[in-house]
Amino acid sequence: MDFSLSNEQRSWQMTARKFANEEIKPITLDLDEAPDAHGTFDWDIIERGSKLGFRTLAVPKEYGGEGTDYVTQALVMAELARGDSAISKTFSQNWKWSHLISAACNAEQKERFLRPFVADHRFLLGKGITEPTAGSDNRMPPKDAPKAGLKLRAERQGDEWILNGEKCFIANAPVGKLFFIDARTDANAPLRQGTTMFLVERDTPGFRIGKVFNKSGWRFYRNGEMIFENARVPHANVVGHVNNSDMKTAAAGDRTGGDLFGDLELAANALGVCDDACEQAMKHARTAKQGGQVLFEQQNAQLKINKMNMLTEALRSMVMRVAWEHDHKVHSANAGLAMNYSTDVIQEVTELNLDIHGGAGAKVARHAEKLVRDAFIWSHLAGDTVQRLKVAARLARVAAQH
C-alpha cells in the first residue's frame, strides 16, 4: 500500500501547517481562557482560514469549492488541529455538511445554498439532531418505538412546514447561517420512517438560538440551543423525501454526509492534537532540567515519550488508511473503529504529556492542560459506549453480508 502524498495533497498539508503555526497557535491559549462562552470565538481567524480554502474544502469544484479528496481532508484537519482542535473542527464541520449537500440535496437546493455558502467567508453550516431528551438514543434500542427519539414536530400547511420544538448542543448553532434539521413528520411511525430533514436558514421566522454552552474543552467550538416556535420552512427546503430523513441507509446509496466523514473527522482531528502533544513533550523533556540534568535523561520520561509517539503513529496509520479507503469507495467499519480508537489515544497521549509537564510551572503546563480538556470531549462524541456499540453493530452488518 502506497501512502505517499501527491503534490496537491502535500501542498494543502503545508498550507494548513503554516496557517496553524502562524495564525492559530498565537491566539489559541488566550481564546481558551476567555471565561464565558461568547469570548472564545474569533471571526477573524475563520475569515482568514476561509480565504485559504479551509471552509469550503469539501465543496465540489463545479460549485466553486476546493473539491479535495478524503486524504487531503484528513491531512488538513490534523494540521489545523495541531494548532487548535476546536478551530479545526469549526472548519471541518462545514465539510461534513457540504458532503451532505452534495450527496442529498437536489440541483435547485445546491444552487440556492452551495453558491452563497462558497461566496461568504462567514457562512458556517450545522445540523440539528440532538434534543434535550433525544440524541444517542436514536441509535439505541428500542429503535422501532414511535415514542423513542427526537420530538421536534413539523406539520405541513400548504407550501410550508411549521416546526415546533427544541434542539440542544448543536455545533455552530450560534454562528451558523444554514442548518439541516431533523424533525418528526409522522408521530405514529418509528424514527426512521417518520422523520424528515429540512434546510433551515438562520433568519427563518419563528426560529432562534437559545443558550450558548460553556464547555470545559473545545472552547472555540460553539454549541447552542435551537428553539422553534411555529418556525415556517418552505416545502422546497425538504431534503430528499418526506418521512425519509435517514440519508445514511444502504437504500439511500453511497451517501457521505453522515458517519463516513464524521468518524474520520474525529480521528483525524485527534491525530493533530496528539502530534501537538508529542512535540510539546519532547521539547519540554529536552529543555527542562530536574536534579541537574535534562528531564529526558530520566528513563521514566523516555518511556512516556515512547508511548505517546507509539500511539500517535498507530493512529496516523489508521487515519490515513481510512481516508484512502474512503477515496477508493471501500467502506467498512474501519472509520468507526478509528474514531473509537482515537478517543483512547488522544486521552492517553495528552495525559502523558501533562504528566511530562508535571514538574513545570503552571504557565508552561497551561498548554498541556488545555489539550487534556480538549481530549476529554472525545468521551462523549467518539468513544462513549453508544459510539462503540454503534460500530459493533456495523461490524455485525458487514459479517452478515459475507
Binding site: S216, G291, V372, F376, D384
Partner: protein, 81 residues
C-alpha cells in the same frame, strides 16, 4: 516482607481510581459532563490534580519500587526533590 510504603501506595491507587471514576461518571452525563455549569468537569479537573499533586503518580511509583528494593538513589532527580 519489607516495610511497604503504604501511604504512597494508597495515594497512587486512590488518585487513579478517582480519575477513572470521575471520567466514567462524566461520560454517563453525555455532553453535560463537560459543561462548566455542571460539577462533573470540575470533578475530573480535581481528580487530575490528585494525579499530579506532590511528586505526581509516576514519580511515586518509582519511589514505591525503590523502597521495596531497598534502593538508595544518589543525587536527587525527581520534580519535587
Amino acid at each position: 516482607m519489607p516495610d511497604l510504603p503504604l501511604t504512597t501506595i494508597a495515594k497512587v491507587f486512590t488518585a487513579e481510581t478517582i480519575y477513572r471514576a470521575a471520567k466514567d461518571s462524566a461520560e454517563c452525563f453525555g455532553a453535560m459532563g463537560v459543561m462548566r455549569d455542571m460539577p462533573l468537569q470540575k470533578y475530573i479537573h480535581d481528580a487530575m490534580i490528585c494525579l499530579h499533586t506532590g511528586d505526581g503518580n509516576s514519580d511515586d511509583k518509582l519511589r514505591i519500587a525503590e523502597t521495596l528494593a531497598n534502593h538508595r538513589r544518589g543525587p536527587s532527580m525527581l520534580a519535587a526533590e
